[in-house]
Assembly symmetry: C2
Homo-oligomer: 457 residues x 2
């Protein structure tokens, strides 16, 4: 399987930063989800782009798969070594290389986590807003085109990445993008690599757009009589041009789980969690206008969180919704779904999904980044119960089909990995083959994260 000369060459390159220790291999065969796979043959911990390029050349010459690894928090088995090979763990390439405050950009290595980056940025008055909840790496987030709670205002990784350094399948190192805010100089390779899940190359550096830390922040939780009212309120808010920084939906089951887990006492009805960023006057105006709209849609129990510690508590609760929900069914494991629809169809899509879940007999609280039309059902299945797992997978499949029926996408932010490949043809038709053609052009031997995203070659 793993040819000796390759091992020798990799060891010569990396010393003990190339490991085949079973514990480390196992760690890199694990995933946050039910998706499982064999372990890689080796795990590498490079420290420089040159090492990644040299590793890539060695693996290419031996026909060995190469799989990028950030924090391993992706949810569709993205980073699993389904055909063995070398997993490249970017933990040791985790530096903030440079902040250019005047240009509001930063250059980072891929292994830096978003929390570490924002901690490093704190004193600069700048921030990196993309927030998937999990403390993922910036490289992994770029590779999955991640987003999260703040995308409604600041966009996704598609918008946040200005340029990349990428090691290609043949070991060449390229740079995409520049430090200028925009460019029309040829194909948008940055956008092509963002979201490519390590199947076209390994990202070894990123140039990121930063944003000013808001002068003023105001946040609130707001209860609604029903899901439809909450969603209609979101639509009205967007249409009235109020620039929300966050607008999150929790259904009653999610609220119940959060209450139990975080010691909150919110009424167990659908909620919106909102946040506004701007000047003190701007934020006050936005909050007031949102308050009026929410009232018009029947909201009650509006609670403002203007002090930093209240806001921290609020978003901690939101970020811990996933473990809270998982904990709400003892002994359960989660099948996390992720669809995104045009916002005009969101209420329908959520309602149909809720009904489908209710009929299935397994619990599935729903929450989402509703400002983007993006929601998740966390399907809770008993560990090692194949029937429940099958039920959950069928539910997830119907969610994907439903999203397409409503003009949406099978994944708003989690990506394809292994788990969603079965729906790619339905979403893309012949365009999926175009993706395959691009993959074949850039990685003819099929060594970059094989088995993911494109049709098997």
């Amino acid at each position: 399987m793993f040819p000796d000369p390759a091992l020798t060459a990799l060891r010569a390159l990396l010393g003990d930063r190339l490991t085949t220790s079973p514990a480390v291999l196992d760690q890199h065969a694990a995933s946050e989800t039910h998706v499982t796979a064999r372990s890689p043959d080796a795990v590498a911990f490079p420290e420089t782009t040159a090492e990644v390029a040299a590793l890539m050349r060695i693996c290419a010459s031996h026909g060995l798969p190469v799989i990028g690894w950030g924090a391993g928090t992706s949810l569709e088995g993205h980073a699993l070594a389904v055909r063995g090979g070398v997993t490249v763990d970017f933990t040791r390439m985790d530096r903030l290389i440079e902040v250019r405050a005047e240009d509001m950009i930063a250059r980072v290595q891929p292994g830096i986590t978003r929390e570490a980056l924002n901690a490093d940025l704190r004193a600069t008055g700048l921030m990196f807003p993309v927030d998937p909840g999990a403390n993922a790496t910036i490289g992994g987030m770029a590779a999955t085109r991640a987003s999260g709670t703040t995308a409604v205002r600041y966009g996704t990784m598609r918008d946040a990445v200005l340029g990349l350094e990428v090691v290609l399948a043949d070991g060449r190192v390229i740079r995409t993008g520049t430090a200028a805010p925009k460019s029309s100089a040829g194909y948008d390779l940055t956008a092509l690599f963002v979201g490519s899940e390590g199947t076209l190359g390994l990202i070894t550096e990123l140039t990121l757009r930063l944003h000013g830390q808001p002068e003023a922040i105001s946040a609130a939780v707001c209860a609604f009589p029903g899901m439809a009212e909450a969603v209609d309120c979101v639509i009205a808010t967007i249409q009235s041009g109020i620039p929300m920084a966050r607008i999150e939906f929790l259904d009653d089951a999610s609220v119940r789980a959060c209450n139990a887990h975080a010691g909150m006492a919110l009424p167990e009805v659908p909620h919106l969690l909102v946040e506004f960023h701007g000047s003190p006057a701007g934020v006050a105006e936005q909050a007031a206008r949102f308050g009026e709209l929410a009232e018009a849609f029947g909201s009650r129990g509006f609670q403002w969180a203007d002090r930093t510690e209240d806001r921290t508590r609020l978003w901690k609760m939101r970020h811990n919704a996933y473990p809270a929900i998982v904990a709400s069914r003892p002994g359960a494991t989660a099948v996390v779904t992720d669809v995104c629809v045009p916002i005009s169809r969101l209420a329908e899509a959520v309602a149909e999904t809720q009904a489908d879940i209710a009929a299935s007999g397994i619990p599935g609280p729903i929450l989402g980044h509703v400002g983007d039309g993006n929601f998740h059902a966390i399907l809770l299945v008993r560990r090692d119960d194949p029937d429940e797992l099958a039920t959950a997978k069928a539910l997830a499949g119907r969610m994907a089909e439903r999203a397409l029926r409503f003009g949406g996408t099978i994944t708003g932010e989690h990506g394809i990995g292994i788990g969603k490949k079965g729906h790619m043809a339905a979403e893309h038709g012949d365009a999926w083959a175009v993706m395959g053609a691009i993959k074949a052009a850039l990685d003819p031997a099929g060594l970059m994260n094989p088995g993911k995203l494109v049709e098997d070659q």
Copy 2:
């Protein structure tokens, strides 16, 4: 050159919407600039996607080049039929197909112009903000990844296009993107086709993001003692988080030309033209904060244009800056340049460019979308004077090199076409070959707008 069976097949498909009349061929051999080329062998005026696909299959089977044509306003010879073939003029595919107000999106055919689109949208309360000045088509703007005065707030065509329908080189029709606001479902083909200048496929439909027409608008012109002060004011404005909708720079020579052409009487010093969009209170706050900053940077002669007619006059002057500048040197024709740098280097880049132009002896007023670090020198050369043309081309070349030296790009918004191909290797290195590999994968016979953007095959 043009095989009879192809002509017969195309005529059978399109009737007299396939023309070889010399007047129409000549019209499609003309360009806004000094770049010239032979004319196409025929010009087609399709009315449906199916016709475009059938045309493409006929041309593919006869090895005939196919070149998209929107409004022909591109500035690097993009739409010229350098190897003959069939120019596909999208004039008859100019419909606004659908507006979905709740989702703030529109579906359009590629031949609709941005002015026609906004006229059609007026009653909906929505607008399409990308504004290149010229009344270009949306298809052409997508193909060049255009932007313009409003990119600083609303982004470029990269941000404005949510999805595409594309006819590929083999006649297959694909759809990219969905109507959902975001997606992580595989490679970002939308972004790949946006900016591909018709070299990968013909765009036959676009799904666009719209924005609400601002409740309140405030605009102003503001004189500065020097270019550096104006640019420093822009940087400070961006850093303070004031959400400008437009912030345009005109140097003294540009102001002089506009004064003469538009009957204005602005002081002949560098100016910023700014606009703010938002709620009445928000706009007032933004304008006040900008006013304070501008004063701190030595501004004088602040003139607010709060009435619609004053604003229209202001932006008409800006949009007519190009003909105004061309008219400022009788008998001259323009070499329009377009570079974009990190904003921290903008003052230096403009200063070096001004000095270079001054030393060259030809006039070259400078203006730009400075909020993006993007500026143009309009180099005015005597018609049919090869020496001046050579001088201008050398100046343009040095501008591109300078932009790269400052970490920027050889084109902020105009694109590559023929005119900028010579600088692609310098900007992209091996990444240019990656573009070539993608081109070869999607258009192996090299029939889609040959001779543009990628290295000659």
